[in-house]
Symmetry: C2
Subunit: 427 residues, 2 copies
């Protein structure tokens, strides 16, 4: 296949004419597909429908956590803390079960950092010019929470094994206002990469000018493989303990992409001191979480083995969709020098880089042809991709056939947008 990025004006002109024709045909199909967000499909949600009726009166009264229907239980029910302790690799008493949203736990944690500060710190972050390191491309909601709370963001690149640790170490070493880093350690959103052991060790061991530096460890895809087995990530809690900074990690997870996206449970884990501090503040925020929904999740899985078996069923549903994305990109774009993309083994996204300055145009063209993609720049703080290059593809929600059709559109849009750009350059 011709490398268009190195082609001459004539070649580009001919290819552009073809691309225009192809796009025109596709646009005439009046499609309406949505690949904007990392949402589970209906078929995935169906897998968890037992949740709707799997606890009864006898399950919820007289438990070791009392009557689950009543008030209380700020940290969650013991059975749920135990299971998700195992899930996150920490003892049950280092786990706090929240409501249905890990974003809520993460936002709440950052809000408390700003208002109260953290264990080992010098009071509220507010007023200390707090800045969070944001590896990019990353998760828009992480960045939005920081922006909302008035927390500054500084970006570092991703390397395929996690964040660029040289850049991270340099940032944290001398500036005490650098207070935290966002991390999605496994099947990162959107690049799909998993942090190497070295990355984890360096995060744990690095000297930080801020005595209260925190790793915001959003382990959102801990068990979310695509059919070829599960990546392993080195235990951040253990690594930080060994490195003498046990309070550094705040760990988050949820069952949103395991059971129900809107009616799962969210999980926080941390050192004993962090858990105590969190609960001490949480006392003022709520009487306690929905304990019945915690029991639903526990009964549904039984144990970690059951949970992992359940994730194999998810993989069987979404693995083929990721394969379809890669097949379409490979078929249309390999060797053309206008796009590169990730080949994740888990998570919810494919991260696609097109020629600089073309991402917005690809997304606009796709929208006009009936395929909604995540807005350009979403994976960067303030929505600003400085190279206008990155596109996040989220293939889980539509049925497989729609993913295939949508990817034909996406590929046609990439060709058209990039050839237009190259043609400008060739003028």
């Amino acid at each position: 296949m011709t490398d268009l990025s190195k082609a001459g004006a004539d070649q580009i002109s001919a290819a552009l004419a073809e691309a225009k024709t192809a796009y025109g045909q596709i646009r005439g199909r009046n499609l309406a597909f949505d690949m904007t967000r990392g949402k589970p499909s209906a078929a995935q949600l169906d897998l968890a429908d037992a949740l709707l009726t799997n606890v009864d009166h006898d399950d919820v009264v007289g438990t070791d956590a009392g009557d689950l229907r009543n008030y209380g239980g700020l940290a969650g029910i013991p059975a749920c803390r135990k299971l998700f302790g195992e899930y996150l690799g920490v003892p049950a008493d280092q786990v706090v079960i929240g409501g249905n949203s890990s974003l809520q736990l993460m936002y709440g944690t950052l809000a408390r950092c700003m208002t109260f500060g953290v264990v080992g710190g010098e009071g509220p972050w507010r007023g200390q010019n707090p800045t969070v390191i944001c590896p990019v491309p990353g998760y828009d909601r992480h960045f939005a929470a920081c922006e909302e709370l008035g927390i500054k963001m500084v970006t570092v690149g991703m390397t395929g094994e996690g964040p660029d640790m040289d850049a991270v170490e340099e940032l944290v070493a001398s500036d005490p206002s650098i207070k935290a880093i966002w991390c999605v350690p496994k099947y990162s959103n959107p690049t799909g990469e998993t942090y190497s052991d070295e990355t984890v060790d360096r995060l744990a061991k690095m000297k930080t000018a801020a005595p209260d530096f925190r790793i915001l460890w959003d382990n959102a895809y801990a068990v979310h493989h695509l059919g070829e087995g599960l990546d392993e990530v080195k235990d951040i809690m253990a690594a930080c303990e060994v490195a003498g900074c046990p309070d550094r990690p705040f760990v988050f997870g949820s069952t949103s992409k395991i059971t129900y996206a809107g009616a799962g449970i969210a999980v926080f884990a941390g050192s004993p001191a962090n858990v105590k501090d969190t609960l001490d503040h949480l006392f003022f925020e709520t009487i306690g979480p929905d304990k019945i929904n915690q029991l639903r999740q526990v009964k549904f899985f039984g144990d970690m083995k059951g949970l992992l078996a359940h994730m194999d069923e998810h993989a069987a549903l979404i693995g083929p969709k990721f394969k379809a994305v890669d097949e379409a990109l490979t078929r249309h774009l390999t060797g053309k020098g206008i796009a590169t993309w990730t080949k994740p083994k888990g998570g919810y996204f494919v991260s696609l880089d097109v020629l600089d300055g073309c991402a917005k145009e690809v997304i606009r063209l796709a929208d006009e042809a009936g395929v909604k993609l995540t807005p350009a720049g979403s994976c960067y703080p303030y929505g600003d991709d400085p190279n206008d290059r990155n596109i996040r593809l989220a293939p889980t929600l539509p049925p497989l056939d729609e993913v295939k059709q949508a990817m034909e559109v996406v590929c046609a849009c990439i060709e058209l947008a990039c050839l237009n750009k190259l043609a400008e350059g060739a003028d």
Copy 2:
């Protein structure tokens, strides 16, 4: 019966000897009862057990709010907003359905006031020396949320028709740092009183130095009568609209004491501008609430008629407990001049005032005799009852027979503590 507060030393001495004997006997019974918190009893929770299994697959897919199992729906599902709009007397689009805890909604609202400010205000309350008016006795969790967030509190008394409005009007008139007032308008916690129309009108019409003054209207007991029908409270939203300050009220409610205390839903209502502002911020805090649990509540009630019929069943269970409290207090203490108490027609509490300086001692004696009461001072900011007079009785949780036994203890403790105090004075 002798008014002990006016009795001579001999009379007091004789009565004290009797009270000591009575207390000694009661203490020997090794009781273990809990009247500390306003928790529903198991029998009340049983009334809502249909919630556990009342929605199925077909109910949650393809609704007018999409697939309820998936992400989204920040403001709540339409059916739930409609029902609880009716419940609170506002249009559905002025309702936001939260998670399982109205405290969480209230804390979150105050936190946003502090960090972002409110519609019509001059930015974040933090830095404006914000002070909230706290009618006392009141709800400890309201006061604790203020304390946690660094919001000052100033108290006003309750009158039997709501807060002392002369005092409130004076406070708000000249001081722009007076930013809000806590109100539990119906069957107030703990006095059980319901705000008069005049109180509501004065709250709506009063001129406030703060342009962004807010009424924190915690309508926690909107439908929670005790068997003699429901009090009416004038519509605060309408009153404020008429008074030209539609953004003044923040209205809260929940089904915690209607269905399940730990697994109900919480509700916020406000002016269109307040709802928009709330949702604009909430977007950053969560992807959305548990919509399936919203549907459970809606299906369980059907409509407001169903909800009200359900509350009659609650009244049949808890009405007799309140009657038992009043009967014991009346039988033991009427005319003795050492205690007064409320006779609520709804809500979850009886507010008991004993001789000044005796509340802590009554609670200590009761604890030693096996009856746990709410800690002294709980109904005052910072836990400080300046007269050490007020005791909150919460009779809903224990079975009726236990309430009766516990009240014998409480009455004996009141007699002993107050007679000890009077004996000191008579020395």
